[in-house]
């Protein structure tokens, strides 16, 4: 009986969220570049073992509709962790915020206030939040993933 409980806990990691129709999981990988003997660079995603400043990391969000009805107007938001410098979305359709999630838009349309009061175009490193708004409802059983990249400051 005890074993059964443990097993079910492992199978349903988000036991407290069991009533939710859609599940959302977050993963972090480290991009490792290795060089083949002929000098060609090979990039692999590894589970984070040793991570130091300057290391490129990839954030992966998995979503899945576990319910029986479509989930419409699905919006995923990920604040960029404080010690990470945003380095670009790998999944299309992202919107960005450079002011803590108050306003959103394409990165090229955003500006950042300079110390002297003037404004400059926002850079990737200014991004505080990233979000995706899915145009289509997630059908029952539908799943997908969203990726973005960062660098450890």
């Amino acid at each position: 009986m005890k074993l059964m409980l443990i097993l079910s806990a492992m199978l349903l990691p988000s036991a407290g969220l069991a009533q939710n129709q859609v599940s959302l999981d977050s993963e972090i990988f480290v991009e490792r570049t290795t060089h083949a003997p002929n000098g060609a660079a090979q990039v692999a995603l590894e589970a984070p073992g040793v991570v130091t400043p300057g290391d490129p990391i990839v954030f992966v969000l998995h979503y899945r509709n576990n319910g029986t009805a479509p989930a419409a107007a699905f919006v995923v938001t990920n604040p960029i962790p404080q010690s990470v410098s945003f380095a670009g979305a790998q999944s299309a359709g992202a919107e960005y915020s450079v002011d803590g999630g108050r306003s959103w838009g394409a990165l090229a349309a955003l500006t950042v206030r300079n110390p002297d009061g003037t404004r400059r175009p926002a850079a990737a490193t200014d991004v505080t939040h990233i979000r995706w708004r899915l145009a289509q409802a997630i059908p029952p059983g539908g799943r997908g993933e969203l990726r973005f990249r960062g660098v450890v400051k």
């Binding site: 959302l24 977050s26 991570v51 130091t52 400043p53 954030f59 479509p70 010690s83 450890v152």
Partner: protein, 343 residues
């Protein structure tokens, strides 16, 4: 009789700037950067920092209303990067005389990693690429942070005993003290490399030391190999010259009053120190306003010289005197005298 010590006015005085002057300049340069050593904005994430990531999502429920979900929290701990930088900061060769003891070279050691780290220092005085090998006798840490070597105040470094512990981006000034070999010739250079190595470990970039990082993570060797060095140089100035000018006044009454007709005898002493010799040393001095040169009064080493520009070493130029000393060996002195009468 009285002696007046005057500043040298000799036109050809080949004087070396005092050697400590460069250290004063170096101290002024480094004093500012000591306080600016930890730029907060560009700082690397400190070792042991935990990066947490979690996303949230909203969607419309089939029966109306909206649901908000939160993902699991993923965490990773930033490990310690081992990196170090060494820079020779004298700004130019440290000018020394052959045989001199405790001659100083100044370096700055900077923790370029993201964790607090101790560094082992070594001075390599036989690295090659130079003309003579200084003999390093000690490394001293700038205990009072003024960038200048203060004997007795600064801290003598003992490898493994007081390895400087530096916070990320912090730095310490280290002085290398060496004896200059007596045989170093004029213009020759002697090189000393200061080497700093992270105590936790060093090696090829990417080498990791499990569990030895600050904050409980691993320690990983960074791009510098956690082992850095810079070369500093002494330059031997075998011979230097100093001038001293003095004057004695004799009036017509056997006294020393500055009255018209009193005779002033100027005495110019050139002392060459160090080793080797100085070539084409020449002394020149102007006749002071309000006085008149006394013809035939120039002497060199007690022997009279004619006033004309001729075969002997000295002459009166009309406005001053000039004496060519030729090549003068270190350790010797040349004395020139001449007289003027107060108008």
């Amino acid at each position: 009789m009285r002696d007046l010590k005057l500043m040298p006015t000799c036109g050809s005085a080949k004087r070396m700037a005092p050697r400590h002057w460069r250290f004063i300049k170096a101290a002024m340069l480094t004093a500012g950067s000591l306080h600016a050593a930890a730029p907060a904005a560009a700082a690397r994430t400190p070792a042991g920092t935990v990066i947490n990531n979690s996303a949230s999502a909203t969607y419309d429920l089939p029966g109306g209303g909206q649901d908000t979900i939160t993902s699991n929290m993923v965490s990773l701990t930033v490990d310690e990067l081992l990196d170090v930088g060494v820079a020779w900061t004298d700004g130019g060769d440290s000018v020394v005389t052959p045989g001199a003891l405790s001659q100083v070279l100044t370096y700055r050691v900077t923790n370029a990693g993201n964790g607090s780290e101790a560094f082992r220092l070594t001075a390599r005085d036989n690295a090659g690429g130079d003309d003579f090998d200084p003999v390093t006798t000690s490394i001293v840490l700038d205990g009072n942070g003024n960038g200048i070597y203060d004997p007795g105040l600064d801290i003598v470094y003992v490898p493994g005993g007081n390895d400087p512990v530096l916070a990320p981006d912090a730095s310490v000034v280290a002085f290398v003290l060496s004896t200059i070999p007596a045989g170093a010739a004029n213009g020759q250079r002697g090189r000393v490399d200061l080497v700093a190595v992270a105590d936790t470990g060093s090696g090829a970039p990417g080498t990791s030391f499990a569990g030895q990082g600050q904050g409980g993570g691993d320690a990983v060797v960074g791009a510098t190999g956690a082992d850095a060095e810079d070369d500093g140089y002494y330059a031997a100035a075998a011979a230097t010259v100093t001038f001293v000018k003095s004057a004695t006044v004799a009036d017509a009454f056997g006294g020393t009053a500055h009255v018209p007709g009193a005779i002033i005898t100027y005495r110019l002493t050139a002392t060459v120190s160090g080793a080797g010799s100085l070539a084409n040393l020449r002394i020149a001095d102007a006749i002071p306003p309000g006085s008149t040169f006394r013809t035939g009064s120039i002497t060199l080493e007690g022997a009279g010289l004619t006033d004309n520009a001729d075969a002997d070493a000295g002459e009166f130029t009309g406005s001053g005197i000039a004496v060519r000393l030729g090549s003068v060996a270190a350790g010797s002195t040349r004395i020139v005298t001449f007289q003027v009468a107060i108008d």
